[in-house]
Amino acid sequence: MSGNRETLLYLDGVSVTFDGFRALNSLSLVLAEGEMRAVIGPNGAGKTTMMDVITGKTRPDTGKVVFGKDTDLTKMDEPAIADLGIGRKFQKPTVFEPHTVWDNLLLALAGDRRPRFTLWARQTSEESDRIDAILKTIRLREHRDRRSGDLSHGQKQWLEIGMLLAQEPQLLLVDEPVAGMTDAETEQTAELLREINRTRSVVVVEHDMAFVRALGVKVTVLHEGSVLSEGSIDHVSNDPRVIEVYLGR
């Protein structure tokens, strides 16, 4: 499906065990440059653990995670991986609540992360232009000076997506972006992700099948820590094994 595009992310035989429980069972997955992929699966299928492994929060027991040409992510920690160009949005929206919407984006903006820089940093006009542009994309322009903790749930989700954009990652990992959103917000979010996908690769973990269908991208179904099925949404939803996993219990 991805044709001859370069591979951006490659998971090869990744296994993770927590106290005897196999969260990931020799999971393999290939993501092409510029691709958007939806990952679905019942609870405990290993979706969040997969994100944890890619972003350096969890080290796999076995297996390889390769980013770009030959960068081995399993040897790196979270800030190093973030620096490399992998951004992550959490299931529960986590924004910096005491800060304004503007400051949240300012902190997320790609740039020098060292204390010796932030200690003396002054906001540049280039930075404010970029924040303005992101605010427009995530539709939070009127809320720029609000304390982000006071935003609605859906607005926080967008702010977090905006923070991801500000990081300018090559790859975005988005965990359940529409959980708790209204139908209208869900639709806008799908649109937003498609817009983002024009310039970046995206992996979306989601429960909401209508949303996945709206995205219209290749779907990977996880079950018990490995890939059960892969293909278009119609393909996987007609796959008897997928039907069994979703409906069989």
Partner: protein
């Protein structure tokens, strides 16, 4: 932490110290508004404690590190100053020994221990006031933050740190005067310590250092560094996924805070006239956390206010009903936690929330 409370605090600290000094020096002792010299030293002590409180607020209020051992840095700064003051005594000690302080003669020391060398030089002593707390904080912080020790566990090891130092400094053969500590100081920088003018001078110097520390702290917490720090305090893991290394931010503010505490201790010792291992006691560190909680955590100004008010209360209370002070302190902490989670500053500090239905879009753009 609105600008006006901050400015008011600076004016109160500097102006208060100047006013007290004038009332002490310019008025005859019989005048109604004369301030006795002991009150000058008392005020100096409160402001030294305010520096400790400020140091605690910087790490607890802005980096989320609940330190229960910050008095250790305060006491180390105090000991460095105390060692200098001991060497200033010279031959005026009870035993009249030009090199060895009284306690060393008493304990049969033959020569000055190596770590006492250089403390006759004020510049060296001042450098040590800063370096000793800084190096200890650097080593401790590097180990703790790198291993991602946080929360209650970190609080417990800070407590262990100060307790270990307490036990060590109690030992006579450590060479710091054991149980009695360092005392009987005569001069500071060649000026007699007991003079009223010296006392006023020290109060004013303390006020200046406190004001400077407030300015540094305020710059820090309102800078982009401070914004990252607050983000680390509330959601440390999220900052990692943004590419920040929280341990570096924590380490920087931790070391800076230790230095502020150490300077506070160095200013404290000449004004109270003694430093002993009791300053390392865990209760002192916990008390400093209470000052911050009472004044308002994460406000800087609240730390200063809390330190001065609680210590003023302590002075009055321990004079009138000494056995009840600890109960009063405990009750104060519980009441503040339950009724005033934002401390005294919390009552007036936070600007009223903008009504929900007013659209901020009407505001002019920056």
């Amino acid at each position: 932490m609105s600008p006006w409370t901050f400015r008011l605090c600076l004016v109160a600290v500097l102006g208060g110290a100047a006013l007290l000094s004038v009332l002490n020096l310019a008025l005859p002792e019989t005048a109604a508004f004369h301030v006795p010299t002991y009150a000058i030293s008392l005020a100096g002590k409160y402001l030294s404690f305010a520096m400790l409180a400020l140091a605690v607020d910087l790490v607890w209020g802005f980096a989320g590190i609940l330190t229960l051992g910050h008095a250790a840095f305060f006491a180390l700064g105090g000991y460095a100053m105390g060692m200098y003051l001991m060497r200033q005594i010279g031959t005026r000690g009870v035993y009249g020994n030009a090199i060895l302080p009284d306690f060393m003669v008493f304990l049969n020391y033959k020569e000055l221990p190596w770590f006492w060398h250089g403390f006759d030089n004020p510049a060296f002593a001042i450098a040590m006031v800063i370096l000793v707390p800084a190096v200890l904080a650097l080593i401790f912080g590097w180990l703790a933050f790198r291993s991602r020790v946080s929360g209650v566990y970190l609080s417990i090891i800070t407590q262990a740190l100060t307790y270990a130092l307490l036990l060590a400094f109690f030992r006579n053969d450590m060479g710091f005067g054991g149980n009695n500590g360092l005392t009987d100081f005569k001069d500071i920088f060649g000026i007699p310590l007991q003079e009223s003018s010296t006392r006023c001078g020290m109060l004013i110097v303390t006020a200046i250092f406190l004001a400077a520390a407030l300015l540094v702290a305020r710059y820090l917490v309102t800078s982009r560094f401070g914004k990252v720090l607050i983000a680390v305090r509330d959601t440390e893991s999220r900052t990692r996924f943004l590419g920040y290394r929280p341990e570096r931010y924590k380490l920087f503010v931790w070391v800076l805070s230790a230095v502020i505490a150490g300077i506070g201790g160095a200013l404290y010792v000449p004004q109270v006239g003694i430093i002993n291992p009791g300053e390392f006691s865990p209760a002192n560190s916990i008390e400093s956390v209470i000052w911050v909680a009472v004044g308002g955590r994460g406000t800087l100004v609240g730390a200063v206010l809390g330190a001065v008010l609680v210590n003023l209360g302590k002075t009055v209370f321990t004079g009138a009903l000494p056995e009840l002070w600890l109960f009063a302190l405990g009750a104060l902490f519980i009441l503040v936690t339950l009724l005033l989670p934002g401390g005294i500053l919390g009552l007036l500090g936070r600007p009223p929330r903008r009504p929900k239905n007013v659209t901020p879009a009407a505001e002019p753009a920056e």
